[in-house]
């Protein structure tokens, strides 16, 4: 280390702390410097947000934003590893901030203890370089997608249920990648939407997908590697099978990223009667026989 020529902005302390990642030949000092001037926003500090927050707190970012409106519940602890028994009852963003700041005290962590709406999301999203969708419901996923397209931010999106997970990067402009609305112009019928509280989820499935979200975010910020845009990873933990499918490009007909968008200044308000959290306000009819 000592005879390393100093043509970068990293301190000796940073060189030491991040040495095991900056010696990777494809990564190097340049990528580490990019991380040092980058920010990421994690929306949802639950099963996916936990590993994503821990790894993004560790890697050497300048700033990490954490959004959640919920408090830590004991039933979260089987999978939400950024929280623990001592923070049950506290807000999830405070709990996550506490754990992340113990890992990296030089990281700026900003927390947003609120329910995202079409009125408040733009001001938050526009401050960050990359956004991670770690939420648990359809309405919020459209909201985040629209805000990311309007603010021109890449969106690393994962979702999990039971033993399965899905991962992709939306709105990756460098590859003309699609947004969530390009793929799903219409929301699914409410009764087809399963949630973690309906049909369950295993912690390590969240760990796998949330870690992969952090990996894609780091690759986007450092411009290293091939980004999972125009592609979607399907994970089935029960059979341990992984499959990458090829997706359409950006659609010219898309309501938000197309050539004649109808969504322009801010995301539209949610349809009446739809809620945006993981409570059983929409009972999942299909799986009701699986409840206890």
């Amino acid at each position: 280390m000592t005879n390393y020529v100093r043509n970068h902005s990293l301190s000796n302390d940073e060189i030491q702390r991040y040495s095991r990642q900056l010696i990777i030949s494809e990564f190097g000092v340049n990528a580490q410097e990019r991380l040092k001037s980058s920010s990421a926003l994690i929306i949802g500090c639950g099963g996916l947000g936990s590993p994503a927050a821990l790894y993004l707190a560790s890697c050497g970012l300048s700033r990490l934003g954490l959004v959640d409106h919920d408090n830590v519940d004991k039933s979260n602890l089987h999978r939400q590893i950024v929280h623990n028994e001592t923070t049950v009852g506290r807000t999830k963003v405070d709990s996550a901030r506490l754990t992340c700041s113990q890992i990296n005290s030089s990281l700026q962590i900003d927390t947003y203890n609120l329910l995202l709406t079409h009125e408040n999301i733009m001001d938050i999203v526009k401050q960050y370089d990359v956004i991670l969708d770690c939420t648990d419901n359809v309405i919020t996923r459209y909201l985040i997608n629209d805000a990311c397209v309007l603010c021109r931010k890449p969106l690393v999106s994962a979702s999990v249920i039971r033993f399965e997970g899905q991962l992709t990067v939306w709105n990756y402009i460098e590859k003309n990648g699609p947004c969530y609305r390009c793929l799903y112009p219409q929301a699914p019928p409410a009764e087809t939407v399963s949630t973690c509280s309906d049909v369950g989820i295993l912690g390590p499935v969240c760990g796998t997908l949330g870690s992969l979200q952090a990996l894609e975010a780091i690759k986007i910020l450092t411009k290293v590697g091939d980004i999972l845009s125009n592609r979607m990873l399907l994970v089935d933990g029960l059979s341990m099978s992984f499959r990458t499918i090829k997706l359409r490009n950006r659609q010219s007909t898309c309501a938000v990223c197309g050539t004649n968008p109808t969504i322009i200044d801010q995301p539209p308000p949610p349809p009446l009667g739809q809620c945006s959290n993981d409570q059983p306000c929409r009972r999942n009819l299909l799986n009701s026989n699986e409840r206890m």
Binding site: Q166, P189, L234, I245, D278
Partner: protein, 97 residues
């Protein structure tokens, strides 16, 4: 004509929880397409609540159709003419976190 059908992301729950289906379509006067395959699926494979899988003559919103692991939008969508041994994957989008 032999095909492999796969259901994932919860769509398999409508098909007796079976993810992989090896099927043989009967000979037809006109070529099989995704559109006519959906009719066949509804009549022959769907165990319950067809409205959770099919809407009109297509799949319901929130289900992706992959032809040999490629988004059907990159082919002709409903009008894609099936070839022997095609793999057709129906993925229900997940939303949990």
């Amino acid at each position: 004509m032999h095909l492999t059908l796969e259901f994932a992301g919860g769509a398999e729950l409508l098909f007796g929880k079976q993810k992989n289906h090896s099927i043989d379509l009967p000979d037809n006067n006109s070529p099989w397409t995704i559109r006519t395959l959906l009719v066949w699926i509804r009549e022959n494979l769907l165990r319950e609540r067809p409205e959770l899988f099919i809407q009109g003559d297509s799949v319901r919103p929130g289900i992706l159709v992959l032809i040999n692991d490629t988004d059907w939008e990159l082919f002709d969508g409903l009008n894609y003419q099936l070839k022997a041994n095609d793999n057709i994957l129906f993925v229900s989008t997940l939303h949990g976190g």
